[in-house]
Amino acid sequence: MENAAALPFALRHVWIVLALPLLSFVLNGLWTCRKKESWSGPISTVLAGANWIFGTLCVWQWWKASAGLPGRSMVPWSFDWLTFGQLGTFRPLTAGIGALLDPISAMMVFVVATIAFFVHVYSIGYMREDPARGRFFPLLSLFAFAMLGLVLATNVFQMYVFWELVGVSSYQLIGFWYHKPSAVAASKKAFIVTRFADAFFLLGIVVLAWVVRSFDFSVLNSAAAAEALLRPVSFGFFEAPALPVAAALVFAGGWGKSAMFPLHIWLPDAMEGPTPVSSIIHSATMVVAGVFLSARMFPLFSAVPSVMGLIAFVGAFTAAFAAVVAIAQQDIKRILAFSTLSQIGYMLFALGAAAVCGGGVLVAGYSASMFHVFTHAFFKCLLFLVAGSVIHVAGNNMLSCMGGLRTKMPLTYLSALAATLAISGIPPFSGFWSKDEIVASAFQAGHPVLGTVGLLVGALTAFYMFRFFFLIFHGEARSDRSHAHEDRWMTFPIVCLAIPSLCAGILAKPLFESAFRPRLLPWVQAVEGTHAAFVPVAATLLALLGAVAAWFLYCGPKADVARALDAEHRPAWYRLVYRKFCIDEIWLFVVRRILFERVAAPIKWFDRKIVDGAMNLVGKSVVLAGWCVNALQNGSLATALAFAAGGFILVWLLAGNLFP
């Protein structure tokens, strides 16, 4: 940690970035206890704004201060929170809490602070009539505190601590309207699925801590750690070299939190929460945590080709799967949820594909993934805010009740158009630059198959995004529009976020290419490589093709909108896609039938009947023996004497073998 005195003010007090949301949580929490909900909205928004400003100041001062530092990473502030093991044969292990500022964490701080502020402003409008808003804003600030803590983590233990806090705040926010059983079920599902992945993450941390004897990222990503991890370690059931297993376990944590393929079931249901929640948690910040974790551990992961391959495959498959499912969805928030899944699949597959098939790591892949995280955050948050406004007006989430909102909500319409263009990857908007980088890096790294999958998914993205756009804003109104209006508080953040969706790509591209270079292990050589020229052209063409097809099907003169909206009378494959390939039902079957009936019930029966039964049996047998002794006592003198005589003979025989 550099000597604190030399650092400028903001860096010296980086902890304020964490302190402000925590203060807002505590303040609002107490305020709500005393039944003054109306105050909590403004207070938390002001504090979020202050945090945004201070966060940007920190990032700016960090940018200037870290010019000369290797990898631009510095730890301006940290303290020892908990020490494990003072003695014994193992060196003492300490877990600290602190702030590590380096390109990816600075970028995330800026993104989280910005989006948190705008969502707070948006929530004032969205939650105005909701009586429980006094409970909403503290939870939102708690989430901001947890996310910033996760992003600034200096060691993997601190990351796990805030990882869990993020999980809990998302549980609380998804289940915010707890009187709705569906919301409660969704929140429980979200927490348990992420908790399932976190268990493996914790196991990974424990393995790393035992082998490397430290939690700090700087130590974990070092060459020494990698060699140490190559030694085989026994996991009780099997013996395996620690590196691949530990890397896979750590990635599993991200797998659950970023809702990758088998564990994606909780994200679509998480839409039960209020829309501002979805906009901040399930679009920009929490679901990106898995990608952030993989980026943070990139040097270690890149040393393990098998794990890189796993990341690439999982990313690509989820991107494709989610894109296909998104096409058939009727609920606009579920469309956006699946689109988020698909974009995160892109980011992960970019990281995974950075491993050049001949060995070595393509630097461009890493920076492309981070660039996409940056741009995606803004336009996806914007799309959710737009969806929120639309739902506010239409009364429910289904496409069937929307349409023709162009005239009633002009600003929202224009912002939505900007976001849709951005996400579809139409040049010159931000999505094009970041997504094109990813696909290009895939081709460069020698993964043509992944590259083509990227391109096709790009087309699908354009198709379902424009379907979403046309069915909401164009065509004739499918429900009464008398009171439709654009709330001031909700439209202002939408418009503000439209700007970065448009220009973030162009402005930030050079910055990302220069600053975001992974510090690889010594024996992993970085590959520079140039762009494959044909990729941007192909990507743009496919995107335009998707857009035109969507226009033709849903907005053009011959568009049969009624048929597009009714999901029942469609061919079997369409209904299967609409029901999300029944993955949820499979998971439900596994958990309910197998885990509850086949495992829990027999164990409970075993506990009550066998173990408990054994104890009761002992009790009963003793009582029975007591009864026998009483039966023996039939009160007659003869038996008493007989026993006495028998006793005498018994003692005589006993004395026989005792005495020589």
Partner: protein, 104 residues
């Protein structure tokens, strides 16, 4: 008077004791049982006297103990018979098997 050895007397006493014990267990009449107890006591006395006669270093104490035991037996039987009489006045029976009200 001579001619039988210590072990013969001991066997006799043991037999006497066994008969007394058997009688105590089998007889139903309480008086009979007390009789058998007397038999067992006297078997012990025979033992004492035999030991005093044949091999004891201090014959007087053996004989003394048997005399004492006879006296004590007397006292014991007096008390026992008094109790039997009192019980008989109430229960009108001397049969040991009928005395089974106290049980369980």
């Amino acid at each position: 008077m001579t001619g039988f050895s210590l072990s013969a007397v001991l066997v006799l006493a043991a037999l006497l004791f066994a008969v007394g014990l058997y009688g105590l267990l089998s007889r139903r009449n309480l008086i009979g049982m007390l009789l058998c107890v007397e038999l067992m006591l006297n078997a012990a006395n025979v033992n004492l006297v035999a030991f005093a006669r044949f091999e004891s270093g201090d014959p007087a104490s053996g004989a003394l103990l048997s005399v004492f035991s006879i006296a004590i037996a007397g006292a014991e039987m007096a008390v026992a018979l008094a109790i039997l009489v009192a019980m008989h006045r109430r229960r009108r029976t001397l049969d040991a098997d009928e005395l089974n009200e106290l049980q369980g």
